[in-house]
Amino acid sequence: MSEPMAPTEPAASQPGSTRTGPGRLLVAIYALFALAATARAGVQIATKFSHAPVAYVLSAFAGAVYILATVTLTIGNPVARRIAVVSCSIELVGVLAVGTWSLADPASFPDATVWSGYGSGYGFVPLVLPVFGLLWLRRWNRRPRTQRTTVTSAEDAGEAAGNGAAHSESGTSGQGAEDVVADDST
């Protein structure tokens, strides 16, 4: 069953790279944040570094991570995808850690970073972006070794429901979960 399923699944996101389809939007937003964080940190470090050194260094670090994610998502080969997974993970840990730190100890942050308050200054996009990045990359990194039809059908159901992000092995959409159960029982 996995043989006929395999060609139809990638057709949903022709022609097949991490920078095409939904990835086009993802790379665009990553590039935007790479620019925003780097430029912001650059101006702040150049003009008033002593005012909030921790915040500015963290912003610069965030900018570097965004640049790395943008470049690796654009390249999209297996090595780049692996680096992208690492940078998205660092990003997720970073936004959670810095977000918590900025709320617990506001004195350390006289000026905000991109990740302060879990990215509240940027509409919480910094918090959501790495999650979508990792979900998108997971799709690509899993494909070569996907043999389980149950996972494929769950993914297709999720896709048909209109949200590629919601699918996971836990079968978030009820329809997907039912499909898995049905496949298993037969």
């Binding site: 022709q14 939904p22 086009r24 590039a31 935007l32 620019l35 101006v43």
Partner: protein, 121 residues
Amino acid sequence: MNGAVATTIIVAGLALAGYALLMTALNHRMNVPLLAAAGVLEILLLVQVGIIVAKLAGGERPAGLATLIGYLIATPLVLVAAAFWGLMERSRWGPAVIAVAGLVVAVLMVRLHQIWPVLHV
């Protein structure tokens, strides 16, 4: 008078985002009307940059001059870059990129006003 251009840009940016988002929802690719709309917004942005540069040349200075100049350079470039990046896409996600650019342009205009309230957005 300056305020009129900035307000128009914010409204146009949001309208462009809405139109592009609708195209994404309807599974449409990039097309000429969308590109033309983005082009109109780009012209408005360049007019606004011209107005601000004229103010700067007239001797007025905001508190965060470096940030203001960064915004002046970045705002028109974001839309052009988005248009090229979106054109490379042969699916609904091309207009989605334009939608983000329209929103970003509107937000950047509001931020510009916060940096330099003299602009009367």
